[in-house]
Symmetry: C2
């Protein structure tokens, strides 16, 4: 039997996907039964890297593709919110299964899309939306759900990890490395989505909703990017035994006996022997901790045509595998479909309990460290270390690492400190894992 | 609806499995529909760690359990070859699905078991057989099959990895560390299966058959254990920039245009920046490389009651998920079932192309390094480094690292060298990745 695919988009990932589907030799035999029927593109005349067979239809009318009655699965790779959302909903309405790599649309309209899919009895699979080629969505759904998940911690944005790795290796500034990354194609001309943590926030909201089996609002992810991370901080962190990474974190915590979730994307100091500390360059990794499992980590290429296409095609194959074995029932496999009924309760960032790294610039007068210590003490912030790490002309640079504190108390202490006579500025505040 | 489980074995993993199934709160809701109907044990009177509900039947008649018509899935956790094999086959014959953690029985009788299962239209899932709690079997089946797999390289035995990690950290001898590992329960009283590489060989034959979609004979895995690895070698390897790990490797290579597979378990020198080099202690990790994916790695606890039980219960849930959605068809999902028709062609170890590390003990006479070099040259073995690394009384210790060579040529060179007047002995030969 042949299963027909409608592919929307023939860019980097679309091209990679077509390439695998058109070259099934030495791959899983099921690929022989999957055929691209139509490809939706913006411009038919554009030259393509993939050699396409002459009978393959390129179509600029994407609406017609999602309504083609002979197509079984729509593969949405055009990205962005619209028309992606509308095309996905129309395809579902037509009874077609969906494979997508679009984290933005799922993070924002996942509820609407899943509700429609469950109603129609079709699957929406999105392995490629998080971690590129790394199998992590399916393992979360199918293998880790038997655990009580404690946390999911990911390096899920290759661009920022590349920038931080280069800054760390070469003591270079953020601006220098960003410029180079843009020239090499590792960062976009407008790098906002990556360097401000928005892409990572999309991804952690998707991972959290799967790991903790509850809906998550994208805007509940507290997000800081890496623009504030300086070469100086990387250097000081290194001396203290840490590496700075942009981490996307979802962790469960109990408030007054009630289960709640804390969601954040922040540049974070990691001990050098932490499993995520050695994930460098454009690689991604996702660490999941659960009971009784312990910690497992998934590591691999977080982007790129081939890797992402591998994830897209694996989703297509999964759906075809199910279609071949399930007869004509419209009942969905509860592990592969997704239908949480409730929203996760979210803990606001002020309630977060974490360690902090903070760098102060102060006038170099006797007793200044004592004054800092007193202010922290008043707000119940206990300190792990206070180091006068260098001088900036007349001024002293002091780095403080706290023990675990409530973020609200920490902020209160900083307000007190900013009133000290010796105080000049706080160039950086980072969390410590 | 309720799905009934027959659990064979209530040891470490069986107990962990029962514990999860009896405590479904905060786990995947599907667990509520899974019930342990009978548990097969050797001795009913034994006290157990798991508090079992009074209505749960403990039964010493395992044959009766696999024939109980109300049971849907048999979970085989008794280990060993017999009666495990017969019980699995009887259960399949009765139309029951199988979940097992038994690598030994699958590595040896997988063909027979899968053939029977495919005939009857039932699943045989074995996530827990390799890598404990790490999801790796299902990702290989469901996510990575779209790739042309180049190689699978694993640290898949926790006992040997613990021993090598300790030897490396403390410059201690194999015997000392093995004794401590036995006292701590990380090594068995009879450590043969672990330290001689047999357990790792079982596991790589299973991984290879999945990754390369062909049957693999267990006896085709070339196997060396870690007894020959000395503290001296670990020390020299360290100086040369390497770490020694017991690696289980399946790699594809082309011989005269024909696809062939090389399978081996050997202690191997890894460059310190290799992703597997930092996997320490009882942890496991499996690295898979494919086209177009690149490299992905799965890391986590390779053993332990909780981790392994997590994998067992995830398999049970997968089957129940399918049963809920597939109606009553007997067609198996081709991604989750396993039915290769051919045996993989295997390249013998003599044909392996690899780098070698070899330590010679020679009489310390002038020109000895030249003689060694000449012997290697005659057999077309090109050398990367030759270092006289120390003295043993009157004798000199020389460590040679080769470039990539055919194993057969390398062995031929060693035979020549053993005839040299200065030659005394070769305390160790290790491969280099």
């Amino acid at each position: 039997m042949v299963y027909n695919i409608g592919l929307l988009g023939l860019g980097t990932v679309g091209g990679g996907t077509a390439k695998i589907l058109l070259d099934p030799v030495d791959r899983h035999p099921l690929l022989e039964e999957i055929k691209i029927k139509q490809i939706g593109v913006r411009d038919k005349s554009k030259t393509r890297d993939v050699p396409l067979p002459p009978d393959l239809i390129l179509n600029t009318d994407l609406e017609a593709i999602v309504k083609d009655p002979e197509i079984d699965i729509i593969v949405e790779l055009i990205g962005g919110l619209e028309p992606a959302r509308s095309l996905i909903l129309t395809a579902i309405d037509q009874g077609k299964h969906i494979v997508t790599a679009n984290k933005a649309v799922i993070a924002r309209y996942g509820d609407e899309i899943y509700a429609a899919a469950n109603e129609k009895g079709v699957y929406v699979l999105l392995e490629a939306a998080v971690g590129g080629g790394i199998p992590v969505i399916k393992p979360l759904k199918q293998s880790l759900g038997v655990n009580k998940i404690k946390n999911v911690i990911g390096i899920v944005n290759g661009t920022t990890n590349y920038i931080l790795t280069r800054m760390s290796g070469e003591k270079a500034s953020f601006e220098e490395v960003l410029k180079e990354a843009q020239e090499l194609g590792y960062a976009e001309a407008d790098p906002t989505a990556d360097v401000d943590g928005l892409d990572a926030a999309d991804k952690i909201s998707i991972l959290a909703s799967l790991a903790f089996s509850g809906k998550v609002k994208r805007e509940d992810v507290y997000t800081e990017g890496i623009r504030q991370v300086s070469a100086a901080d990387i250097n000081y962190a290194d001396k203290l035994g840490f590496i700075i990474k942009l981490l996307a974190i979802a962790e469960s915590n109990h408030q007054l006996g009630e289960e709640a979730l804390q969601l954040r994307v922040t540049p974070t100091l990691l001990p050098k022997d932490h499993p995520l500390a050695s994930i460098n360059g454009v690689y991604n990794a996702i660490l999941v901790e659960g009971e009784p499992l312990g910690q497992v980590m998934f590591f691999g290429p977080g982007a790129g045509a081939g890797a992402t296409a591998s994830a897209v095609v694996s989703d297509i194959m999964n759906i075809v595998g199910i279609l071949k074995s399930s007869g004509n029932t419209n009942d969905l496999d509860p592990l592969l479909s997704y239908s949480p009924s409730h929203y996760c309760k979210i803990t606001p960032i002020e309630e977060l309990i974490t360690r902090f790294y903070v760098r102060f610039v102060c006038r170099d007068i006797p007793g200044v460290i004592g004054h800092l210590g007193t202010c922290f003490g008043k707000s119940n912030v206990s300190l792990e270390s206070v180091v006068q790490i260098g001088f900036l002309g007349e001024l002293a640079e002091i780095v403080v690492v706290t023990h675990d504190v409530r973020e609200g108390n920490f902020r209160q202490a900083l307000e007190e400190i900013s009133k000290l006579e010796a105080f000049k500025s706080i160039p950086s505040i980072l969390r410590v894992l």
